[in-house]
Symmetry: C2
Subunit: 358 residues, 2 copies
Amino acid sequence: MNIFSVVMAGGSGTRFWPASREKRPKQLLTLFGSGSLLQQTIERLAPLTGPERVLVVTGQSHAQAVSEQLPQVPARQILAEPAARNTAAAAGLAAAWAARHDPEAVCLVLPADHLITQEALFIETLQRAARLAAGQDVLVTLGLTPRSAATGFGYIEAGQVLDDAPPQICQVKAFHEKPDLATAEKYLASGKHWWNSGMFAWRAEVLLKEIAEHLPGLAAGLEELTPALGTDQQAEALARVYPRLPAISVDHGILEKSDNLCVVRADFGWSDVGSWEAMAELWDADAEGNASQSGNLLAIEASGNLVSAQGRLAALLGVKDLVAVVTDDVLLILPKSRSQEVKRFVELLKDNGEDQYT
Amino acid sequence: MNIFSVVMAGGSGTRFWPASREKRPKQLLTLFGSGSLLQQTIERLAPLTGPERVLVVTGQSHAQAVSEQLPQVPARQILAEPAARNTAAAAGLAAAWAARHDPEAVCLVLPADHLITQEALFIETLQRAARLAAGQDVLVTLGLTPRSAATGFGYIEAGQVLDDAPPQICQVKAFHEKPDLATAEKYLASGKHWWNSGMFAWRAEVLLKEIAEHLPGLAAGLEELTPALGTDQQAEALARVYPRLPAISVDHGILEKSDNLCVVRADFGWSDVGSWEAMAELWDADAEGNASQSGNLLAIEASGNLVSAQGRLAALLGVKDLVAVVTDDVLLILPKSRSQEVKRFVELLKDNGEDQYT
């Protein structure tokens, strides 16, 4: 198979502030283990694709940092978007790039900022998805077995079972937007609603055909771009064409309109690493659930705290369920349950003109 | 008057851990304003004594750091104790030093690690105490008007009023040890019980006479030391004699046994800067009582917190009445009301052999 790994590194999230900044988004951070989330993503794909078959789509303002983190990936395979045009354009660009270099190319589309704990199973599942995409004109989605009634993800409703041998393969009955809690609980109980992970597999040609059918404006733009992809003209062509592409997600723009869909059930220990709170499962913790990124922690009558302090000794006494983060220029403290609210600091700081902290 | 300021810089407290360390005790820290507590103490005394009439008594292990902080004080006036022998020996040593250089010397004995907010009144009060000591064979104590029923200080019970013009001067009726809360409340209500501040004034000769009467072992040792004081032999003589001196406080060893006592009532905005919690009154705070040493603070639904973070932006959300301290190698978080318990970390770290943090 002629697999290309397409790593979507476009995020500029503020959910890991103060570690994440405009110039240093989450995927470029080392939040656990060694290496940034992006570097860990590329490394994890090594059994499937070497660096010569990796494409990274990222924002112009992060392209330099991405290149520095991935010296093994050829510069022209780091596709810098001059403007954010959502995932349909990003996936289309990668497909056009891959198809130009290999008409049989199968694209595995993967976010750069997720965590996978069972890597062998991950590779196995992706291989299954790639084989499926290679053999049929089908768009393959990955549906994650939900661990909770999460309201932060969209859901894929599985239809008829096509192959019951794990990983199970089904037709897609429907896509569902982020549900309310009651609906999410029904989804969880059904056993047939899986989290929409943002991971996909398709032949480049098949995606481009679907784009031509459902997003003719995008198709025209990609056609204009194609001769330049992988050449010295790539950056100039992107600067000229990309900002004009329609901005729509691959889900809304293509998947929800397509009839050639299936879903591979995925169960490989996945996390979208959505906030500091998610680190509780990833960092070493003491018996009272105090977790520290470096492991250097001394707790007295303290429990459930999360500390990232650049290797400093975290000395905690009589405090509970806090997040504390020390960076070169910020000390953040807030309750773990309010981790999502760090973005309020970013907003306030911008309002105050204190951009050095955002 | 021939005043010498005797600054007692012997402490090795752990109450400001992790800022304070064995090698960097509280008096050497900059906790507010500019300059360490020791430097601020010396500066505050400038209207009374220039550096040529300052004596600093400190532990051998801190003498180097004290010298570096006080380049204006001649090296031989930094009296390094080869072993801690409590305050009677320290005050006796300073008195012997001063008497050898000026038989009429009046010693003002002052801790190095206190805060005074009304400096003019402080100087006025000390001048009054010094005049008293210069004119009579009397040991003068300073009694601080209590602001609360504190159980952490000893009390001086004032007797007959000798001079009612402020600062009031009284005979000393009795010294009282640190009381329980009920007793402290009675003391506070009485109006005649003042905090024992550890600040004194006496002619060097008068103190030495009292030492000869009440602590003959100390007197003999000081006599042996005297010829070397202020000479090249000073360090050698201290190393030989000082460790053998009796270890007793000036209160227990001398004041409580003496009949030649009076107390000057002091009311100049004093704090012993006893713990991180005390910083709440000293650092700039926002409307919700969040105080930061550097003033660089952004608080959302947070109140009553105290932050020392080496100038970092302190971003606090939804937390209340915490102390947070960042140093080069430690992050400390605990409730403000438990500030005194930081010493538990020091004990634990010593037990664990992690001396780099103590």
